[in-house]
Symmetry: C2
Subunit: 338 residues, 2 copies
Amino acid sequence: MPELRRDLITQKWIITGMRSKEKFLESLNPFQKKTTNGCFFCEKNEKNTLPEIYAIRKPGTQPDTPGWQVRVVPSKAAAFKIEGDIGKEGHGIYDLMNNIGAHELIVETPQHVKNICDLPIEQIVLVLKVYQIRLRDLDNDDRLRYGLIFKNQRPKSPYRIGHSHSQFAALPLTPKILKEELTSSREYFAYKERCLFCDIIRQEQRDVKRIIEENADYISFVPFATKFPFELFILPKKHNADYCAENESSLKNLAQILKASLGKISVALNDPPLNYVLHTIPYMRKKQGYWETIHNDFHWHIEVYPQMTETMGFESGSGFHIQPLLPEICAEILRDAK
Amino acid sequence: MPELRRDLITQKWIITGMRSKEKFLESLNPFQKKTTNGCFFCEKNEKNTLPEIYAIRKPGTQPDTPGWQVRVVPSKAAAFKIEGDIGKEGHGIYDLMNNIGAHELIVETPQHVKNICDLPIEQIVLVLKVYQIRLRDLDNDDRLRYGLIFKNQRPKSPYRIGHSHSQFAALPLTPKILKEELTSSREYFAYKERCLFCDIIRQEQRDVKRIIEENADYISFVPFATKFPFELFILPKKHNADYCAENESSLKNLAQILKASLGKISVALNDPPLNYVLHTIPYMRKKQGYWETIHNDFHWHIEVYPQMTETMGFESGSGFHIQPLLPEICAEILRDAK
């Protein structure tokens, strides 16, 4: 039922068709909204999810039973399915393809904790390792082009979505936003013979005022030209295009900076909903000779977007990013938190 | 104080710096929120806005007094100023320019009406004419590249923003989203020798099921690959790249279809906040010889984005548009309204 469609004007592929008309109309009625009976993601409720795909769990414990630390299950509202072929076809002037891929939920803790920043660093390290494990696993599928790790954190949601989790979508295409980044960084490298992101890190270290956190391996800062208020980038300081190549000690520092940076957002902005997305190299690139420069010119990173209601959606309205608060002031407010 | 900055990664220019830290922190405190004393945009409160730039008003009435039908005033939180030069410069590796341009508010009615769809068609025609007048006026300024007409409709806002108005920003650059559209339509034309948008209209008329409204001159439909639920496009059926070239009789049909289409959104979706934006040809194109094909390959249109809270911000999170409701179902729900 779900299908991938391409917008001829923006050249973006979108996925659509996971939701029925009835479910949607129900959701419009505020009186229909109710908390689910218990949280599907909490320990002991394992039977309420689809069978687990992967878990870090105590030796000797069975799948879909308690004893896990991080658990990966298929999304019930899965946008993608793993069986079948790409099936690219046209509909009149339009372009379609099948929703080949995977859509998994990474439950980050057996306890009902809502924000990843409230987990201990060791637990966050496990989550970051599971990101690598799931990314690598789907990299074996030649039909897939990109592994997308992202989070929609909704701490105030009455639904199970309040339970801290990430999502993993393995896509039969590279999202346009990633393609643009890869192009920008390739062009920059061709001109400067330096990585764009490494240069940005050096510039941020020189300017200081947009930095939020820094440790031995990572830096987090509000970008010079933020699209949204309190947008935050987290980058490894050592050049690396591939998130899966980070080792245990690096992931520990990543967990530290993620916890500290998201913690500041939570305190300074009254625990807002937020999204983050991991930008790493596409699957295809590793396989295609003409992409051989990728390890020089791209640099993996995490982009964090707190959702400040009053400014949301403005770009759709204006076709242009209007972000009233100077990035330096955003950084100051975050740094001052707590 | 406000400045234009370019994001090196996405190549997007953004404007920032209109808001102070104090004002922002105040806005975080819900107890500070209060309705303003009366609406600045209502008739008889003319002295509470900056002096008017333009108005359609009864002969013999003075500027900034009652007697107007549509009134244009500068934005108090103006992102752009008309004095000065572009002043492009670098900051380290980053790029900046001055906020040359204009930022105007187009007050659409002297009465406190919240939704443009609740105005009579004749009044909407006046608003659409004022769009043309303001676009043409700033076209005379060689520093400016794009005239952006857009609307943030917030019918449930307690602030004056609840009063139906549009915004006009004259920019020293063409927004990236427009550049991409111009490129797509140019490439399509080069390949097919037909306008992309004209082809889309023909396809929609063949498929029927995504159409919301149609009259002698215009069609409104949910695009085949919607980025957001209930996104709506309104296009003139006769090929035309330049909004300012539409005549009085065409504007009357535009007012009709705008009123009818937005009315359906309002009824079907319980009066949501919405944005719309007018995409027309850039200023520069008219002046540059190498853009001479523009009148063949581009097609002006209006893009409407209702804001459905639960799905907002998802693209920032995923880098990919996931729109669970099929465009055909969105269209059905809108068509069935009332």
